[in-house]
């Protein structure tokens, strides 16, 4: 199924919550959606006849300057098509509904995005730091992150 067909199908089902379809050259076709009803959109993508995105490829958090973005790369093994779903939230209140129960794979991916970018996945059962130590301060992948000087008495910069 082509990206614009997927977009139309989503648009019919969810209306205003589906914002736009980006098919610029150089960009992979992606659909931008509102974060409010994300879990339902994901469930629709997973279960709807014809879409059946059963395989979660990747979840990336992106620092877009003013906003934080979450990018979901989905793939369907049955239909052999793929789509990118994008969500943007403001940096002050980076709340995105958690999709860990839609695809269990996103459990760790969401923890990683929380760890490195500070995106708050609402509804995640165990949203703790995964890569960095539990008492680490700040979210390193944000563009305005500054390296700490000391951590537990160890000097960090060279």
């Amino acid at each position: 199924m082509l990206p614009n067909e997927i977009f139309d199908k989503l648009k019919i089902e969810f209306g205003e919550e589906i914002i736009s379809l980006n098919e610029d050259p150089g960009y992979e076709p992606s659909i931008k959606v509102e974060p409010t009803n994300l879990v339902d959109i994901m469930l629709f993508l997973r279960d709807e006849e014809g879409l059946e995105f059963d395989y979660p490829s990747c979840l990336s958090g992106v620092d877009l300057g003013a906003n934080l973005g979450v990018v979901y790369n989905l793939y369907s093994m049955k239909r052999a098509h793929k789509i990118t779903i994008k969500v943007e939230v403001p940096k002050e209140a980076p709340d995105v509904p958690s999709c860990e129960l839609v695809w269990r794979s996103f459990d760790w991916h969401e923890r990683e995005a929380y760890d490195l970018l500070g995106i708050n996945f609402v509804g995640h059962h165990n949203l703790t730091r995964i890569l960095l130590p539990d008492d680490w301060e700040g979210h390193p992948l944000r563009k305005d992150y500054v390296q700490p000087d000391y951590f537990h008495g160890m000097k960090v910069p060279y």
């Binding site: 960095l132 130590p133 992150y145 390296q147 951590f151 160890m154 000097k155 960090v156 910069p157 060279y158």
Partner: protein, 209 residues
């Protein structure tokens, strides 16, 4: 100088006699029988596994792997030391029995390697937390380089003074030793206080509650 080197160059005492000191024998034993900890960190650990394997055969030097730090003589810091791992490495080093040695393998554990600039979570050199005896450069070092490091470590052990009399030591050494004794006592007292406070957690490392 090891006992076996003396075989080639004995003191002039006569035929079929060679002399050595007890220190030589002890140093010889330590240098020829090095048990290392089976412990790998990152990329260098793969090269280290290759050194162990059939082609390079690390056991030729008398190095035998042991899984438990209590029985090992030296530890190979083979790869990037992160801040999360650093405390564990320090602890492993403290668990080892004296005499103990450290080989820092590869740029990452020497100085942070390719992550020296932007690695916010990388310790820039393992010598910031534990003393290092031999540094092996390379990213990762070739097995040949690693073997050379091993030979360097063995010759270092061979030249160690085991029996040092206090009156023959330099005053600053004695002062350092005394200082260390005081530090150790303080650490012990702190540990005791900590242990009494967290008595129910002894033996369990950060149990996820």
């Amino acid at each position: 100088m090891g006992l076996l080197d003396r075989l080639d160059n004995p003191y002039d005492v006569g035929d079929n006699i060679f002399l050595g000191t007890v220190e030589d024998v002890l140093n010889w034993g330590r240098s020829k029988s090095d048990w290392y900890m089976t412990f790998g960190l990152a990329c260098c650990a793969i090269e280290f596994m290759a050194v162990n394997a059939a082609h390079f055969d690390f056991m030729r030097f008398g190095c035998i792997p042991r899984p438990s730090p209590r029985q090992t003589d030296f530890i190979i810091i083979s790869g990037t030391v992160t801040l999360k791992m650093a405390e564990r490495i320090k602890r492993l080093y403290e668990q080892m029995a004296e005499p103990k040695y450290v080989i820092s393998m590869g740029s990452c554990s020497n100085s942070g390697g390719p992550y020296w600039e932007n690695g916010y979570h990388v310790l820039k050199g393992v010598d910031r937390i534990i003393p290092v005896d031999v540094y092996i450069p390379g990213c990762p070092p070739r097995p040949e380089a690693f073997m050379d490091g091993m030979v360097q470590l063995q010759s270092k052990i061979n030249h160690q003074a085991i029996f040092r009399k206090r009156k023959e030591m330099r005053p600053e050494d004695i002062a350092a030793i005394d200082q260390r004794q005081i530090e150790l006592k303080k650490l012990r007292a702190e540990y005791e206080a900590y242990r009494i406070e967290h008595l129910d957690l002894t033996g369990v490392d950060n149990v996820a509650k």
